[in-house]
Amino acid sequence: MAATTFAWLVLLCPLVGSIAIALGFRKLRGRAPGWIATAAIFLSFAFAVVTFVLLLGKNPHHRELTSTLWNYDFSATVDAKLQILVDPLSVFMILVVSGVSALIHLYSVAYMHSDRGYARYFSYLNFFVLSMLLLVLGGNFIMLIVGWAFVGFASYALISFWYRRRTATRAGIKAFVINVVGDVGLVLGTFIIFQHAHSVEFLKVFHSTHHVFAHDSSSLVIACLLLGLGAFAKSAQIPLHTWLPDAMEGPTPVSALIHAATMVTAGVYLIARMHSLFEQAPTAGDVTAIGGCLTLLIAATIGLAVTDIKRVIAYSTMSQIGYMIMGVSAGAYSAGLFHLMTHAFFKALLFMAAGSLIGAMAGDQSLDRMGGFRKAMPFTFVGFMVGGLALSGLPPFSGWLSKDEILGFLDHRGGGFLVLGILGYIGAFLTALYTFRMIFRAFFGEPVEQARQLEEGHLAHADVPRNPATGEEEDSDVGFPGPDHHIAERDPPMKIAMGMLVVLAVIGGVLQIPGVDDGIVRFLSTAFADSKLSRALPSTGTDWVGLAIGAAIAVVGIATAYRLWIAAPETPSRIRARFAPLYTLFVNKWYFDELIDVLVVRPALMIGRLFDSAGERIVVARGLTGGTVAIVRASSAAVRRAQTGLLRYYAAGMVIFISAVALYFLVSST
């Protein structure tokens, strides 16, 4: 069978899984939905591996395969089919997506066990994987947009998964609407591209880019910026990022899967996929690169100040995606995608470990109330530590090789990109700092009550479950988190999933060691064969200099964190007092939420109310309608007695009258 057939099977598995679980939600008992969903994704991963092997068997110059099921929107010169594109880029993505998804499904089997919405959860989760795979496999702009919106919906559904929490439903709507803004950018960008290239098929558009668009032509720059808008909304880049921290309202495995490992990196995939357009419009690429750089710095500063452990990791995700966006915008495609992969490993691992920690805290997510869990949760500690070291970029962990590959490329490209690269190193220092702030505060120091109890074998259990965000009392029925908490130490599926990610986070980098194997660069090279930028790779020597600098910065960052939170724990509060305005700015997340509220949300609602009060009640109802109606009313009080049947005569009379007028016109004119 052809590689494309297996790619369709990759899509089919989660589709069947999702529908089967949704339809059987009353019949499936116990952990059955979880196992079905997990099996579906593992099967999907197996098919992805087969696709990969079959693609490798092909001549490197013939690794772009398309396959069509049927016409989807094929009319009036639009040529959208239900079509997939199998090339090294999409195969790389489906491997990462299905692989990480499979492990997170496995983790969820245990983590969500006591939740009353167990089947719904796995149906959504399978649907999400379907959407994400569709997004990366789609062979034209329409399929891409469909996948793009589907992941947005799946993200909404899972953020609002505990839908009886008002905080969760609000966060869901926010995420959905901001993502629709991104969708609109994508659609408008597609319009411009379609208008020039007369096709929505990727291969046709990319092959004709050089003929139909002049270098840096304004229409292409606008199109690419609109695509960038989509990428920024989905990847939570400034200023469209405010939904991501709120998205932490969803269950923790969802944060690991959607809001760390896969969906939020879709923007990176998008720019890499559209690289031939972006290279023809370098101005747009510069803008997105600067946006990514700003995001990585701002998010890192917020990560230093917030105390909700999941939100720290969320800001860290924003920051890391900033690196990727900056990389792929500058032409470091393989490096950006490599970092996408290693980030998926270690960030998923961090979230899973955080989920285990939150389980031990009986749902409490505040770093302020955590401490000393090292002995009570040795396995979780190892997981968190490995994830944290990889995130900080310490050798030989995977994050070190991938992040510094991006920065090395930027330094090598020089000019303004050198500045971005240096800012990236500052970000790397902040990364190590906030990561180890988390680790030192949660796992070191004096054990808190929950940790001491756990050391004696008692898992904390809240008598009255409360919403950690508001303190509101909850029950544990449908729409709220289940009554029991789960930690990796006690639940084998969680332990296995985390264990595999520990291995991947440590050694995932070996796929791409400069001068040794260059595996990812070589595999992806055919996908970026038409790119001028990616051919100018830095030499192995330069790469290693960059890696050395990165390692040194990570060590300095971790040492500083040690000094601040272990050796001299009174310093942070002194620094806070010394730089109070800055701290206020960081802890209030640079006031982006407030800004959007004042600029967009309030005006929109105000206009709605104004239209309702002034427009509808006065102009339309009294003026336009009232006037006419009053005339009619005055002349026929009969209408008021409609119930007596006079209305019938009235209506019949009107019809007869009109017919008479008609006849008169007809007769008189002929």
Partner: protein, 494 residues
Amino acid sequence: MTLSILIWLPLAIAVIAATLTGPQIGRFSAVGSLATLGIAISYVARFHPHRAGLQFVTDQTWIGALGIHYKLGLDGLNVLLVLLACVLFSASLIWATFREWNRPRLFYFHLGLAQSAVLGAFCAQDLALFVAFFDLMLIPFYFLIGMWGTGDRVRATTKLVVYTLIGSFFMLAAAIATGVVASNEHGTSLTFVLSALRHLPLSRSSQEWIFLGFAAAFLVKMPLVPFHGWLVDGYKSMPIPAVAVFSGILSKVAAYGFLRIVLPLFPYASVHYQTLMLLVALVSILYATALAFTTPDARLVVAYSSVAQLGFITLGIFSLRSQGAQGALLQMINHGLVTAPLFFIVALLAARAGGSEKLRDMGGIAFRAPVLAALFLIIVLATLAMPGSANFIGEFMILLGVFKTKVAIAAIGFVGVIGAAYYALRVFVSSMHNRLNPNAETREIALADAAAIAPLVLVILVLAFYPQFVLSRTQASAQSSLSGTATPIRVAAR
């Protein structure tokens, strides 16, 4: 089998049903509507998708002296709208059957008459016949509001009667003028047959004022802002089965009228007034979207979203591009398929919120009603035109068409797309999610209610996978409807 059977069958069924008693009246009407639906399906199955001209033509002289023919036919513009009409009337009748109505004979008679008139208006290929059916289809609704309505039904009826009759009057005058002026300008005998009128193009000045007559009638009927004064009271008062078909299918007759009559017969005027019409549509989208943001009433959110959707449909038509017209035709089908079940669901929500249709009395009921929540969610996602639904393809094509003509209008139109995401989700979340409202009770959807809603959801899902079903059937006719507007200069030179 002629189209006449399809058109008059609903009325015949209603007359027969009137001879029955008790619950049999409703049951007979519902089963009968399924028979009509079967006939409509057989027409769609036998329809040749790629032919532009009329198929299944019936042509008889009706009033010879005035050149009025009883001419019926199907092409890409109306074949699927006929099917949609039958689907929605079946759903509404199934919905109605499971409920009690005062004077059931009369109630079902009016619904049957309405269906016959709507089908007639879609199939009519003679201007006078179209006008007759167009007016006829409104009459049953005056009674449906006046006799079975809720709230201030007198006021609602008055407004609807006044608005639509004024609109109808304009259209009647315009229709007569079309035939008369055409025969005068070309010196031919009087005719109202559309295909004949197409070959008798009117002069610029005549087109310009006749266009306005038709536009007034159609814009009132849709309605678009500022012709929507009857909408709030009308939609609030109508009984649910009536409002479902009224919003689902009657509003489409007006949009269809633009494609069937106005664009082919008045191509010069269509180009002349293009910007004006696009602006009216755009204002409607923005205005209705803003109202849907804040209105506290679930039924009115659906009503305003209909106005916004008809704004999009009008945008597509007056983009005067084949993409826009195709998108508009697809969106007419899509909107009918989502708006009818939305009204049903609003009724179900109200039944669970102590009879109130206010959003503040609802909330949290998904909790014991997962099936209702799932059906509602699918419809809501289609309403907000999520990519992956056929509604998205409709809006995509519409805005692509507008984008090719007027970039700025398309760009502003997207505000309506974003707004829809918010207000549609707002209705869903504030009725289904959050804590259970103290005024509400959570109860799963009953089988009888699902019988009306689930089939529509199924159609929505099938179209989501295969919107091409509609597109390939409408393509040739949409092209032909627009063909005159591509070269209006030639017409203008006369």
